[in-house]
């Protein structure tokens, strides 16, 4: 069966507090399962979103909270998080016992989604975009 072709956006907003990151995980999990992602992809998305939100809170880039958007685009489930952290490029920590938390989070997200796009303009809020394949999404169209 062909994947979804029409965009459909679902979104939530959480306050800038660590206790609300679990809400993002629940949201991502529900949307990804409903969209037809494999369970491994669901967990990867939940982890990437968690790392991104945690780093945004750590860097203080989201004083007014975080927006998380999910949409179906040409067979992919696209997750966008804004403001995200100012991740710029993958950097695998040389010493696994002593990387900074930001390096570890950045390495994890990049390992999970090599095509992750992180937009970090000098004069604006950084945002993160990941796309995961959807196997079957009849209910999500």
């Amino acid at each position: 069966m062909a994947g979804p072709t029409s965009a459909q956006i679902t979104r939530i907003h959480i306050p800038a507090a660590a206790e609300h990151i679990a809400t993002v995980r629940a949201f991502i999990g529900a949307v990804a399962r409903h969209s037809g992602c494999t369970e491994e992809t669901v967990e990867d998305l939940r982890l990437a979103a968690t790392e991104t939100c945690a780093q945004a809170l750590a860097e203080g880039t989201a004083p007014d909270g975080i927006d998380v958007r999910a949409s179906l685009e040409a067979g992919d489930l696209v997750i966008e998080i804004e403001p995200a952290a100012r991740f710029v490029s993958p950097l695998a920590p040389a010493d696994p016992l002593d990387p900074s938390s930001g390096e570890r989070r950045r390495a994890l997200v990049s390992a999970l989604f090599p095509d992750v796009r992180i937009l970090a303009p000098d004069d604006g809020s950084p945002s993160l975009r990941v796309a995961a394949p959807v196997e079957d999404a009849p209910d999500a169209r």
Partner: protein, 111 residues
């Protein structure tokens, strides 16, 4: 989801049964719990993660902190029952080679 922390002794080890999800919000409770055990004299501590379905890198920081503190006291900290998603996090960060990871509490008797 609430984080559950329950102690149970086994073969000379202090096993901490952890249940729930470990992240930036919940993992400090685990750190405080393990630190209390170490400060209380425990030198063989096993974290049973069989009921932990999710773990992020903030939690790894906590585990590393606990491991370093235990090593300072010449004790041992091991992980048991690590589920697939937390194991993936450990593997992607290379920490699966740093921690002693056992399949079940029964393996503590010969470890």
């Amino acid at each position: 989801m609430e984080l559950g922390l329950e102690n149970r002794p086994h073969a000379g080890w202090a096993i901490v049964q952890v249940s729930g999800e470990l992240d930036l919000h919940t993992s400090p409770r685990l750190r405080d719990h393990v630190m209390q055990l170490i400060e209380g004299g425990a030198r063989l501590v096993a974290l049973d993660l069989a009921k932990v379905g999710f773990m992020d890198s903030s939690s790894l920081g906590v585990l590393i902190t606990c491991l370093k503190r235990m090593r300072e006291h010449e004790g041992r900290l091991v992980l048991i029952g690590v589920q697939s998603t937390p194991m993936k996090v450990l593997q992607l960060t290379g920490l699966d080679r740093v921690f002693d990871i056992l399949g079940s509490a029964a393996e503590l008797e010969t470890h």
